[in-house]
Symmetry: C3
Subunit: 429 residues, 3 copies
């Protein structure tokens, strides 16, 4: 396995990892500065209070420092050591509290005593600290100085959009979210993969236009949809929500709401051909931006291809979701699968054979000169491909019917097109 | 289990049980007099000889007395003790016969030696007696006086109809038959359940109109259809043939001919949610008025929900089908299931969420304030219900997709409608 | 089992067996002379070089004699003893060769040392001999005289067509191939069965027109289609490729390309009713003229019903495929199955009952007078047939739904038509 992009993605992730992101604020902007070194992503700022469908854009949150100091002046919890220590969107505080009072503002996980949990409170103003249960149990009676230097103000929600024009206005849509502090599989694996897919897509001309967005989860997808829905409904033929693509444990598929879009068919075809032991989820197990993309009236053809799904691995939403569990190999695998999906979308079409009856392959030299088991298979695959190239079955369907992976059909298609035996009935889906 | 209606239905059945009914005659009229104490059923009389589709209304039959007397003057078989003793539609007779001659007119069941069988001969004139095989074996050589004081004459076929108007002209159709002498599960459980469903339906305004009929089986449904088909084909959206609803042994479902009507979907949904171990029959196992309601060209959406199906329990069509096997609990169970079916028909619709993207439940206070496992389930069910409320899936389909019983969806629908988040795309199906 | 036709077919096969046929030439014409003694088949000659879709008609090949003679003047391989000894379409040769040189032109099968293989080279000019591996191993060093008195010239491709007009222009199409030298199951079982089906079809008036053709495989079907496609696409409602119908080992079904044509439905219905243990192949396992008949743009409704399929029995394409493995019983079985298929096509229709509600069978005497288990089944089958005779299900669907073989429905249909209870909604499909 060639880990070229995998290693590059790890490097990018290492730079992004320490930044304290949230659904708004300077951490997001700082992250985009790094991403812009790779791709010319266009940034948008949407004002606090803007109506977006049933929601409105919340206040912008920024934080400079936070700690809990004991009576001896020791910072026993320090935001500067780990940005998960502060509840996301915490209001500012500077106060001396008893342990009892402090406990009401602490969050820890008894079952994972060494993990700092990830907690946010976007829509109810409060403050709090997240610590490992192990540390929490060490706390003694006494007074504690809690200090959070944060600001919650009218400002902006920031998102990034990168559009790569293709021959057609029809679009492939890639969405990933950028709103979590220091966590690796959920979330940084998503944006770094999206960056490297974009870099690959930029390298040559494509049939389809690619719309790649980096948004805060939920409020970001709602905001983005509220501004781009009409165009997207007209153009998007397939889309993927890219998240949790960095570990090595599993491949997963979560369908679109109705489960039968091109995105679903492509994801299933690629995973069945390349990783047949993938985990198949139901849309009822959804949990990310497909909740918006697939909601009634939006109905974009968006599915998710992941490694281990959010909520399904023990490190999820804790400080343990770090660079130990996301690897170059894990990211490279996802990168390869997404490339295969995109190649299939680009190549998928309703092919039609040009002659009536079977073509005479012999006179065109299309029979292999060396007769081997492999060459026999090739001829059989070619004849079966031709048999179903009736203009009514697309490539995915033909692959399913004749039981041949699409990757083995690409050279056959090329050969037949080169010999003027095949054409695409519909160039653009 | 509240047995209020079950006990009331048993009381009504006890009054109806002794009456000698047949497909015509005064026993039917006498039964209607009792039913009229409960609901204002409208009676119709159809003259003998009236053409009804491929059939014609037969002669009216009435009987006053019948017995077999032995040489010692003892009534060894007495109609007044059990009205099953006489073959239905027996012609009059008053004659002395040898045992050999008598045997040709006796009916018994060797395998059920204590049961009096139920035998009729509507379309061929004959006479006969039904006795237990046990009694039959006791008969000695000698002469017997057979006496049947019956009358077969031009008269009328009687049926009852009760229509409860609703907001819509669209109808729910409930059919039950009233033509058997003293038998409890098949048949009296049907009419008494229909009476109590009618009483419940009368209590409040309904979306749909309810057409409830009490007819003699086969010839009655043919007669009724021949007079009401056009209106019924226009209006009936779902119907049920109510029979064998009184024992405690099973729940059963017999589909309509094509198996995919609203009645079928409702019956399956309710039974799957409430009695998942129900027995599922094929339309090939039909045997009651669905034979007419579902015949080609009639094609009404009629299914059957039963307890143990006719023909499937040992007491069927014998004197053993009595008040020992029909219970308040058995009837109450059927009553509850039919109420659930009707509630589902009333509530079923193509619901559509009013906003794009997921609604913000928090600002409406729709998130439970107390977070428990149950409240988590409620939010998940609500979000899943919303996800499929796209105006293209009706309530039954949504329940199937998201795996939540309809009874748990009713309060969710109410909550969403009250919060102006949901509407019915089509008010009337 | 009555073997009348089976025995007659064996007799015909014995006459055809010794003739050396190929895809063109006098062996084919000689075979047609014999066939013409049975049916008035019309012969067509198509010139070498004629363009037929993506192909062109090859040169005509004829052969008079061929042998390999050893140094002692013994004919160690002699075409006159078995015509499989010469590679089909061998160019003429008359030469002395060393054993080494000779070996390059010999074909044998190591795994079947007593079998002479069947080899052809229609589209590349060469010469060769086929011998048993056993004989080949006996060859000693030395010189050999190889002699082939063949001729490859501009001539004609010969095929036969026999059309039996019916009431309708709509056609049933039967295709079989006549291009192999002395082999019995593949191929002579096909033409002899086609001859005897034609003789049976000629005996009475039919609803459909029958188009029966005898062609060389592949190039023949391509040639025939190139001249008759328009008419066939308009008229053919079902067709069968008749091949490998002579052994006793199996019944097989190979579907049309899309698998849902009338031919497929009929073949499946008949085999399921009469030989439920038949072998079901995929279209991916095709190998005969269905490759052309079902190709994109041709799309004729052609399936194959066979005994053991080509390629699936050890004697296939060798001298062992002889009159030992094809039997009167084997051929008779196929004959009966094909007759059943044709009878079903003739009888299949959308039947519709004439009355509303169930008909009154009693007044028409349609209830059996003797009540037996068999008569009970008959009434139940009749009522079930009527229940689905709604003009929307054809006979095959009704048979599938009610679980009654079509052969048991024919007399029921007749009875109902005679009693004016049933009509065909569409006389001609």
């Amino acid at each position: 396995m060639d880990l070229t992009e995998g290693n590059d993605m790890i490097s990018l992730m290492e730079r992004l990892f320490p930044i304290c992101r949230s659904i708004s604020g300077n951490g997001v902007r700082e992250s985009f500065e790094i991403i812009k070194e790779h791709i010319p992503v266009q940034l948008y700022e949407v004002q606090t209070g803007t109506k977006v469908f049933d929601w409105e854009v919340p206040k912008e949150w920024n934080i400079k420092d936070a700690y809990i100091m004991d009576e001896k002046g020791r910072k026993i919890v320090d935001f500067k050591k780990h940005n998960l220590h502060v509840v996301g969107y915490s209001t500012p505080i500077d106060k001396i509290l008893s342990l009892d009072e402090l406990q009401k503002h602490l969050y820890s996980i008894e079952e994972q005593p060494n993990a700092i949990p990830y907690i946010t409170s976007y829509y109810k103003e409060r403050w709090g600290f997240c610590i490992s249960h192990h540390e929490r149990e060490k706390l003694k009676e006494g007074n504690y100085h809690v200090f959070i230097d944060s600001e919650l103000k009218n400002g902006n929600l920031t998102y990034g959009e990168f559009i790569i024009p293709g021959e057609s206005d029809k679009e492939v849509f890639l969405s990933t979210y950028l709103c979590h502090p220091s966590m690796a599989n959920n979330e940084l694996s998503g944006p770094v993969l999206a960056v490297y897919l974009a870099k690959w897509l930029m390298k040559e001309n494509r049939k389809y236009t690619y719309r790649i967005i980096f948004i805060p989860e939920t409020i970001g997808s709602i905001t983005y949809l509220s501004r781009n829905l009409e165009e997207m409904k007209k153009n998007v033929i397939a889309g993927f929500n890219i998240t949790c693509v960095g570990d090595e444990r599993a491949y997963s598929y979560l369908p679109s709401r109705l489960g039968n879009t091109l995105a679903d068919r492509v994801a299933l075809k690629v995973l069945e051909n390349t990783h047949p032991d993938f985990v198949r989820y139901s849309f009822l197990e959804r949990g990310s931006d497909e909740r918006q993309y697939c909601s009634p009236g939006i109905d974009l053809p968006v599915a998710s291809v992941m490694r281990t799904k959010y909520g399904q691995y023990p490190e999820y939403h804790t400080s343990l979701d770090n660079l130990d569990i996301v690897t170059a190999k894990g990211l490279q695998g996802s990168y390869d699968v997404y490339k295969s999906c995109i190649e299939l979308i680009e190549c998928n079409a309703y092919y039609q054979v040009k002659c009536l009856g079977e073509p005479q392959l012999g006179k065109r030299g299309l029979y292999p000169t060396l007769s081997t088991k492999e060459s026999g298979r090739l001829v059989r695959d070619m004849m079966n491909f031709i048999a179903y190239s009736d203009g009514n079955h697309d490539l995915i369907e033909i692959s399913n019917i004749i039981g041949v992976p699409v990757a083995k059909l690409y050279p056959i298609i090329q050969l037949l097109v080169d010999n003027d035996l095949l054409f695409k009935r519909n160039e653009i889906l």
